[in-house]
Symmetry: C2
Subunit: 324 residues, 2 copies
Amino acid sequence: MNRPKLQDVAARAGVSVATASRVLNNRGYLSDDIRRRVDEAVAELGYRPNEIARSLIGQRSALVGLIVPTVADAFFGELATHVEGALAQRGYKMLLCDCHNTPEREEKYLDLLQGNRVDGIITSTHNRNVAGYGRADLPIVAIDRRLGEQIPTVRSDNRTGGFLATEHLIARGSRSAVHITATDHPGNERAAAYRERMAAHGLEARVMAYGFGASVDERRAAIETWLTVNPCDGVFASDDVTALMALDWARKTGRRVPEDLRIVGYDGSAALHTAVPGLTTVRQPIERMAVRAVEVLVARMTDATASVEQEPPLPVELRHGWTS
Amino acid sequence: MNRPKLQDVAARAGVSVATASRVLNNRGYLSDDIRRRVDEAVAELGYRPNEIARSLIGQRSALVGLIVPTVADAFFGELATHVEGALAQRGYKMLLCDCHNTPEREEKYLDLLQGNRVDGIITSTHNRNVAGYGRADLPIVAIDRRLGEQIPTVRSDNRTGGFLATEHLIARGSRSAVHITATDHPGNERAAAYRERMAAHGLEARVMAYGFGASVDERRAAIETWLTVNPCDGVFASDDVTALMALDWARKTGRRVPEDLRIVGYDGSAALHTAVPGLTTVRQPIERMAVRAVEVLVARMTDATASVEQEPPLPVELRHGWTS
């Protein structure tokens, strides 16, 4: 089997080997005509670059690691799709590091990715206290998470999200809405905005935190118990899954939604919107967050000395459905 | 920066370099004590194998490509999680090739994966007519899809799934249930089982196919139109997303579920079960399918001459909720 070489591609396209290489590596400015000719030659000859050899020669693996809690979650699955798409467009392949929601795996993946000489890492996990990021000597971008001064964070506007959800519930007539979240830590801007808006309207703020370590069943049980014990006329949930747990509790206990209980979720993933289109939610710009994370990472991989800029938060919006 | 070498690990663990290498590559039988000593030495020294160099030396990249329609879908997101976990347990990393539901990307990924010298490919896409698989000179395993004589298929028991769903609807009193699916092709065993069971009870079978190429909005519109025009008292949907579209249509048009319309979905992904726990569905053993696909692939990567065995289908089960 005689594999076509880069020289063959260049000859067929009528360009130099250096130019053919630049097209294949997507480097430098090239005319559309030259790109087309090289692409056609690649297709006609069935040329496949040996990328492992290329990564050793060029000191680039063209690999980026994505660390996520789990792609089985609708939000992170959608995020992973768009990160992968944005990387592919720029010539990078993506190693999926799925933590199955455990911090131990996250630490292990950080080590693995560095041993494997990926070009960079995008991380979107929620585990706190993972020590590895401080030691990392690779470009890293975090999504919706503060890891340190030297690591850029791409996020959407959590403060405005909390504002929109709370003001919406109050405008619809809710007077005793609860905020349900994983952990009520000082950096939780959605919870802070909820407290601020409730106080601004002279209403009592109550934050119910079920805990990051809780399993789905434990979370559901904690939420159902809280809602049964504590009268309230609204739920602002920090994610759509939690909002849907409140909706299911209302159905089981005979509460009318929205008359007895108004429910607002958060995230707005396509999968859950398709499943329950009527859920009111604060939509994060998931694709924009993914693309921006890739842009920032590629900039740092290209120039490691680039200063870390504070990224402005990306805009969110409220999508109104029948649950509120 | 002085990176620790394999020699340092072996010396610290008090084993030979060959033994340390076997532990790190997870090859051959080794005592728990030796494994533990080498693991401890790796942790103490912060040793990281250079896997790119290792892949060139050993002709292994320790990389497997997973081709999926998109991990933004609850079923494929859960499948990807478990494939990744099963591969990681066996020392492989996973390149995620997310096709964003387009056949063009699938073909491109097949080429890319071969150029990239992955050790093997697991594919779970639904696109038909992708030509690349016939040309592939790598071990491939398909999930729920027939690609050719030389490519093993791991799947669950679609015939029994169609049987369970249809018999359940009939046992609950449904007499005019429709089967809604993407395409009603001859290999569609769920549709075949539905037709067979309807006929066995003397009932008229109707299959509504919305088409693989349909967007989510097009699918929803087609289903809502069909349900509005054609009276029926039951829906057996070929996936949970479609079942939830029928449920939303019933809510919008004032049909009572299950009294006026009984609804059964298919797949039983954890994400949609968490979102709508009351949906009756046929659960595929997603984790078992993922693990089995990895086992079959690893066997073929280890011994390329192994004969392709027909895999027995994995068992499904009906989970009964309030929608039926």
